[in-house]
Subunit: 348 residues, 2 copies
């Protein structure tokens, strides 16, 4: 007997899997429904066969709970709230509730999580900066639970639908703004190098310098982790140099706020002595002193798009080609950027 | 037949309800389990009888989903994230997932929400600044779904378990700190008057003034809504007066940040011209310039306590007297408070 993957033979395949596993068809159903009353060894055997056969439950036959799962890499960030709100908006309109979980800093949620999701049968799963490994993907696919990755940390693979923002263009716009103000010595604080969005932003920064004919000084590009403390610590390093930059693209808003603190500590005024650009446009960007020039990332809209996409995927009987949607970022100029002193002097 | 509420006759009562409703006992069970396959009219009749008889499902017999419901009055605030994290911590340790919903600015969640909760049978419900009306409470009680209110907006009633913080003591400590620095003209921006926590903070402020023998000027107490914009708008009013206060207790951190903006706009320096104290100690309080002196409310710990309490209530077969726990607040002195100018001059 050879694994068969065509849609016509799916029902037979469930029976075949039962036969091959030496269990009854209802037992295979129980496994698919995440029921607890199956012996662990049986369950493992059935799961392995489901995966080997590429079994895929037909969507119409899968009974679903009125839930959407939303999984975060970590809930630390002020960022997360914007995303939660977006998914809540779409869920509410669809009469669904949102189940929130955290993969606790690991980049793929734990095995227990996947089992729980299979058992509760949500309409879909939105993963934020958090990917699925091969077996988790197979588990969701076999239960016909669609998923979408928002702003993926790594390359999500060509067959994974995902929603992002134009990070590269954002980094480009942020840095061009500084170049146009007259800065020639511009630093950058990046995010974690394993996150594609962080890489894309710094690549945009480099592209802006290169297209302006300015040299890229690798010592002015430092790697953070998107948290406030990294902005503070790396900021002290960058600003403590004799040849300190007159402007810094901070990678995100939290790092920009850390940089504010470093500047205060060193007695540097923003924007007179240092221009700062963030990325995200969190609510706090408007509130700090001086209000932060930043690249707006439409987080709530991105989350809405991800939730809508996952519901759409759930409604479709047939698969469709994976989608990658990037929503536009835009530069919001506030008061943390200005011409460097040398230029001011020349102008005045 | 008269409604009977004693524990011994509960099973009979289900049958009695079925008889009186003119349906079968399994139909009553279906209603209790939130199943959709019951005619709306039948369902309404059964619900009314369940409520009239004070029917209460025995906890042991209620099969539960591995979920905790967390309901917010609104998800706008930076505040919300601290609470979500606390509930997540407890849920994760208990192998449960968190279902998040928002009562969308209303103070009690909508009817649909209660039905959804009854259908998904979580281990318990944590309500944040959000109460339940009588019929929603009856619905949860009849399904043996326990609930706890965190930091209740109104008086939650003596039979509702709740977790709060020592808001009154916090307002007292904030204002005493300002009095000890030498301020005699101290303003206050309150939160919404329907929220008990807001009232308690301002009462603490008043008590500090009175015990220090300082007059309470009602025109220096203004009512906000705990949002940034209220702090800004009311701040402009307070600081624009000829007899402006030299210090303001801002009611919460977001209003304090709005006040920062108003002070910047009027050219007043913090703390030289104006001392500011917030309430909450959100992460952002450390990041703003100058770092904000504030009353720390242990939001994450409060949420953890609420989640633990609701799980405890679910494990107990018998009811117990409702609990009201208040966790201690503490003053965190940073750089936004100092002696008023008159006192500085005298000292120097």
């Amino acid at each position: 007997m050879r694994p068969s993957k065509s849609a016509e033979t799916q029902t037979a395949t469930l029976a075949e899997i039962a036969r091959e596993a030496g269990v009854s068809a209802p037992t295979v159903s129980k496994v698919l429904n995440g029921r607890a009353d199956v012996a662990p060894a049986t369950r493992t055997r059935v799961e392995e066969l489901l995966r080997a056969y590429g079994y895929r439950r037909r969507r119409a036959e899968a009974s679903r709970s009125p839930l959407i799962d939303l999984v975060f890499h970590e809930l630390e960030s002020a960022w997360a709230m914007e995303v939660i709100r977006g998914v809540e908006n779409v869920a509410r309109d669809a009469g669904l509730s949102v189940v929130l979980s955290e993969s606790a800093g690991r980049l793929t949620p734990g095995r227990t999580w996947a089992d729980q999701v299979a058992a509760r049968r949500p309409h879909g799963v939105v993963l934020v900066l958090s990917g699925l490994d091969e077996s988790q993907r197979a588990l969701l696919t076999s239960r016909a639970i669609p998923f979408v990755v928002m702003d993926p940390a790594g390359d999500p693979g060509p067959d994974v639908p995902s929603i992002g923002a134009t990070n590269w263009q954002g980094g480009l716009a942020a840095t061009r703004h500084l170049v146009e103000l007259g800065h020639t010595r511009i630093g950058a604080i990046s995010g974690p190098s394993r996150m594609m969005c962080a890489r894309a932003r710094v690549d945009g920064y480099r592209a802006a310098l290169e297209t302006a004919g300015l040299p890229v000084d690798p010592s002015l590009i430092v790697g953070g982790d998107f948290h406030h403390d990294a902005g503070y610590r790396l900021g002290l390093g960058l600003l403590g140099r004799d040849d300190r930059p007159t402007a810094v693209f901070a990678g995100n808003d939290l790092q920009a706020l850390g940089l504010y603190e470093a500047a205060r500590e060193l007695g540097l005024r923003i924007p007179e002595d240092l221009s700062v650009v963030g990325f995200d446009d969190l609510p706090v960007a408007r509130w700090v002193g001086p209000p932060l020039t930043t690249v707006r990332q439409p987080l709530t809209e991105m989350a809405e798009a991800a939730a809508r996409l996952v519901l759409e995927l759930g409604r479709e009987q047939e698969e469709r080609a994976a989608t990658r949607v990037e929503l536009a970022t835009s530069l919001v100029v506030r008061s943390s950027t200005g011409a460097p002193r040398a230029v001011r002097r020349r102008v005045s």
